[in-house]
Symmetry: C2
Subunit: 738 residues, 2 copies
């Protein structure tokens, strides 16, 4: 069928274009000088630490992948409850996800000293180096994502043999969906391991360095400072990259599977519906590259101008992709192309609103965060209370936005046919619309991720400038770049959570497609309802499955699933919070030991043992990431084996509902605490060193695992649980207890 | 029909028996002396403050009730979308709930000085006075609850006219269900207002008194100390009482409604199924009174013996009610009486397990809380992180327990007919089983609430002893009583949350019954399905409604409802957390002002202005409780008007899932912080006054609104949202947008 659709080839071409530009930007960045010898040395330390960590992580991940792959192979070839492609799809997903994390981090660790050095020339040069380095990450993620999708599409198109083309396309899209689990699993370890690493180092460095010894952030006398800078790379770069790689692929694949199902009876439309999400993503790549080139500032730009320069790039890409959606869907000749284009736009707009609301709640230019600073006047306890309160309240706008986006995407896709809103055909079409909205939100990932990855690079550049003892003027510039990075990081986090929620919803819908395939795979081709009516599985609608499995809110299996899903989100956070606590504790003990045993560290006469702190963070992260990760993988499998399809769907819905809200709460509370401290440091309520400052430092420390470990890991949890459920669909239908 | 069932009269008799024993215990307690003049004076202050607060609260609640009643009257008599009994049922529910809060608090405020005075004689006498006073509360709640139910049953039986007895019983039970909303609304204000009051006073008193001025807890020099003691009464006594009154009535009424529906086609069984939950509750009252009499200790009993004395009373009642369930259900001649008896037992056992797990996670006799203390060695930030981690992890056991209880109650009720688990008949029967499990859990409320209300009474007795300057020996005894109270309070909180979850689930199931009545009320007597099949509303099964409204997890309205429900739980907590923060802030300012302006307070030469602090807490609570309360009432109404039945059910399920887990998390984190501080005060990690102690005081302060304001208020939120949905069912089916 591809042969008839020359338009398909636009997709691999766009992916290669992305990789090409990533390579160009990488070369450009590498041509910059790394600056003085000290700067080089420090950059080298950070690079080595980051790479050492990544290799350690990959070693463990490889073991996990081997175990899971063997498990899938047994299920597929031993028991025949699964498609034989699954183990391979799983592997490539993991491989490509790991690769994008690796490249992104390599780029980031090369870019930080270069950014600091460029900042010696001018603020603008610094911004350019850092942002282009971020763009490498953004483009690698979208490029590899779409490349993997294209390759699998070509391979499966060649090998899959089915009676009809429509049936074949269903098999292809549902098989491809399972490669998302590989990406998810890799992402989980990257996010959880990286998150634990970075915050163990950060909290440890802060607790002893800032609070006990009273030395500033990134001071070279602090033994944990290199580990802290390594952490920014492994957590915020590699972790974030793997997370969004997964959302990106997940949303495209889920939508393709929903499209194959929604248009099952119309062979000509079906292939178009499958290609549409991929094409929107492909056009998004081109427009992202365009947006990246738009980001320029004049010499001597101030903060506001810098922010608007970034904003201009992102907004241009977003508006253009919105317009392009109409063109793509029209050109494809999709039924109701206008409506579906508005579905794309509802996703795009939701992404922007969530980003804005994140900024409102976490930036100290606004009231909420300033109030958290103010509450420091009555000590650390009230800082914590007000930060938690702020975080909880801040969930309202994102949830209402996503809810509105879901409803709008659905209704647009069915052409506002309200009277028949939930007929089988409209349900398929509407869910496809929700998937398309997720794709729309993520279509600008090339550039949004660039602004996101820019943050830790600027942060590290500041660290490098501080440790290398560069002139105050330079540090001021890197501080400005860092501050900009904090804002983009906050909006980026909102975007990551929002897109994870929409993607998870699309995955939930496509779960039913996998159930269908699973049933056929084990030879159950007919659904027999309680009243004796029979429906062929291959022709059964989503609604038929809902009724057959009674996936309604009065089924105790669904209700129990919702309870367990909600609990999973909290338990997962509890495990990661405690992991950071324990790992930070070891770091604190190590730093205290070095201050005590290595004479002359605090006077600057002796060099601390940075490597040891790096090793401690690495070991801590490795040890602590296993339990939460295994739990996330086991929960949907066990729920499926015990409670069957309806239990699993309850689990996913409960995990999605509670997990999304919890993730927003944690990210925003953490962000607000961070900036509340910065607000005090800018001279409010007594400024640096005052009691209010000390109180807000406590908030900041609590916020660290909130915003950088547990909160972001939840994004993966909700997607991974869906992915595991999807891959295990065959197992669930074959063997579930009741 | 009642005439044929003499057994019905056992229910009002049991309720009057409860009230009689409550009166006897109250008289006994009042006969005790209040001790020295100082003790009397202090008790008088607290009593006046508590009563002043309660009247203020009732004033606001009356306004809210008038508004809501007028609204219901317009809906019922103006638009005819509602049953005409609703406004009256709503009123009595509120009245009786308010009354039990009032009596409980009056008793508690009379009991504290008497407990302190009795403790001058012996530990045992102190225990007896405090526990019997707590029993007054327990028995008043169950007595008034069952009395209200009995009276309405008699009245409606007299007035409701229907063609058949079975139809009549459906109307009676669904009408009675709406009186729960009155109780819920009253409970919401009691919990939220009381919770804000008590923690504003507590946090304010601690922040300035303990942390800044360095004076001990309950020191008479602290101007906020009387307000703090008042707070224990309005929050922990009146709030807790109203909360459990609501769970108690809600579970009985929901189960009765489910019973009327499940046995709709078997007139002889139907009345029995309706009476069964009431009879179990009635027998529970008798056995609770028995249990109360069992609580005795020998002279000179130690802590462990005290605890086992209480435990003996509760456990005896629980075991006996478990056995009695078999007898009641057998005597009634209910279909599958053995299975349903095991449903009762699954509820009872779940209550016990949740209580035990709460104790494990919050008592400093166990590892988790000790680790929180230990984390104080690295400052307040790690105390907060580890406490939050502990709270999140602690959600696992309660959620799994409730999940297991739900499944067991369901399966027992349908006689483990796994193959037909979800047929219409088995679904009704199974949901009835879940309701019966909730009734089982709450059947021992008479005695469990007694041990619960005992806590704040003992706490206040300690406060009185401290302020009156009684001998150290007496204070040691009141400290022992207080410590016992902390343990019972923790298990009581777990019990309150668990029972709220089961009750909310039963309410969710009975929501469909109200939808049925609502449809008939507006004259829609036939459901026409998409495929043209029609079903008479009066004969439609729960499953028919699920299919008709497509309350499944692929319906975007359901999914959006789940999102919004999850968000409601967080937002509600955010509002109450911030409310405590703001109210505490005013208290801090006032206490600081008094220390500054009234010379000689700290030297004991001048008396602080206690009344002003009481007034500030009262004003703060009044002002702050309105917004969260209105939100909780509006959310289900608006969701219903926009998204209809399926959206409301999503809202309730999402709110229940996230709300339950969040409530457990907050209660346990708060409890652990409290006891982690106590553990340090007992001399670990440096003891009182050390840096570790200061760090754990921060945790304790953060934990105050967690465990006493936001956490417990969530119990009401999840029940109230269901109750509002139930009362508004007519509105939803008549006018929903889509």
């Amino acid at each position: 069928m591809i042969a008839n659709n020359w338009i398909f080839w636009f997709i691999p071409v766009a992916s290669i274009l992305a990789l090409l530009f990533a390579w160009i930007f990488f070369r450009q960045m590498m041509k910059e000088s790394e600056g003085t010898d000290t700067m080089k040395k420090i950059a080298q330390y950070v690079r080595e630490g980051a790479m050492a960590y990544l290799w350690q992580q990959y070693k463990i991940v490889i073991v996990v992948f081997i175990v899971l792959c063997a498990f899938f192979a047994v299920l597929a070839y031993g028991f025949g409850v699964q498609n034989g492609w699954v183990p391979f799809a799983f592997l490539t997903g993991g491989l490509f996800s790991g690769l994008s994390g690796f490249i992104g981090m390599k780029t980031a660790t090369h870019a930080s000293a270069r950014t600091a050095n460029a900042a010696r020339r001018s603020l603008d040069s610094g911004l350019k180096v850092a942002f282009r380095a971020g763009a490498v990450m953004g483009l690698v993620v979208v490029g590899l994502g779409l490349l993997d999708i294209s390759l699998w599409f070509i391979v499966l198109n060649h090998f899959v043999e089915e009676a009809t083309d429509t049936q074949k396309l269903v098999i292809i899209t549902t098989t491809m969906l399972t490669f998302g689990m590989g990406a998810s699993t890799q992402a989980l370890f990257a996010r959880v391991g990286g998150g634990i690493y970075t915050k163990a180092a950060d909290v440890g460095a802060d607790l002893v360095g800032k609070v006990e010894a009273g030395i500033p952030e990134d001071d070279p006398r602090n033994p944990a400072t290199i580990a802290d800078n390594v952490g920014d790379n492994v957590g915020d770069v590699a972790g974030m990259g793997a997370d969004l790689y997964e959302s990106y692929c997940g949303s495209i694949l889920a939508t393709a599977a929903l499209g194959a199902s929604a248009f099952f009876l119309q062979a000509d439309l079906q292939i178009k519906a499958v290609l549409a999400p991929m094409l929107i993503a492909a056009v998004g790549i081109v427009l992202s590259i365009l947006g990246i080139f738009i980001v320029r500032t004049k010499e001597g730009a101030n903060m506001k101008q810098l922010l608007s320069a970034l904003g201009k790039g992102v907004n241009t890409s977003s508006i253009l992709i919105g317009l392009a959606a109409f063109g793509i869907l029209y050109a494809l000749g999709i039924e109701n192309w206008i409506g579906l284009s508005f579905s794309v736009i509802s996703g795009l707009v939701a992404g922007v609103i969530i980003g804005q609301s994140t900024e409102y709640y976490t930036s100290h230019s606004y009231k909420p965060t300033q109030k958290v600073s103010e509450s420091g006047q009555t000590g650390p306890a009230t800082v914590i209370i007000s930060g938690l309160g702020l975080g909880m309240l801040s969930t309202a706008i994102p949830v209402l936005t996503i809810s509105l986006a879901i409803i709008m995407a659905y209704l647009c896709a069915i052409g506002f046919d309200m009277k028949n809103m939930l007929t089988p055909h409209n349900l398929s079409l509407g869910l496809y619309g929700i998937g398309i909205a997720a794709v729309g939100m993520l279509s600008t990932l090339g550039i949004t991720l660039a602004t996101d990855a820019y943050g830790p690079i600027a942060d590290n550049a500041g660290g490098n400038a501080e440790m290398s003892g560069l002139e105050p003027e330079v540090r001021k510039r890197t501080d400005a770049l860092d501050a900009l990075g904090n804002t983009t990081a906050a909006t980026g986090k909102g975007f990551a959570i929002g897109s994870a929620a929409l993607t998870a919803l699309a995955l939930l819908a496509s779960y039913i497609e996998e159930i269908k395939i699973g049933l056929q795979h084990i030879g159950r081709n007919v659904l027999t309802f309680a009243d004796g009516v029979t429906v062929n599985v291959s022709e059964a609608s989503i609604l038929d499955f809902m009724n057959y499995y009674q996936v309604n809110l009065m089924n105790p299996k669904v209700l129990v699933g919702i309870f367990i899903g909600s609990m999973m989100a909290f338990m997962f956070c509890g495990l990661t919070m405690n992991a950071v606590g324990r790992a930070a504790q070891s770091m604190v003990n190590e730093v205290r030991r070095q201050f005590r045993e290595i004479k002359g560290i605090l006077t600057g006469e002796a060099t601390p043992d940075y490597a040891r702190c790096v090793a401690i963070s690495t070991r801590g992260a490795q040890k602590e990431m296993l339990l939460p990760s295994i739990l996330a993988i086991l929960a949907p499998i066990l729920t499926g084996l015990i409670f069957g399809v309806s239990g699993v769907m309850g689990l996913l819905a409960g995990g999605l509902g509670a997990g999304f809200v919890l993730a927003v709460f944690m990210a925003n509370a953490g962000g607000a605490w961070d900036n509340a401290k910065k607000y005090v440091e800018e001279g409010h309520f007594g400024g640096k060193g005052s009691d209010v400052h000390k109180a807000t430092v406590v908030g900041d420390t609590v916020g660290d695992p909130f915003k950088d470990t547990s909160g972001p890991s939840l994004n993966i949890l909700i997607k991974l649980m869906s992915m595991v459920a999807i891959v295990m669909a065959g197992l669930t239908v074959a063997w579930s207890l009741f």
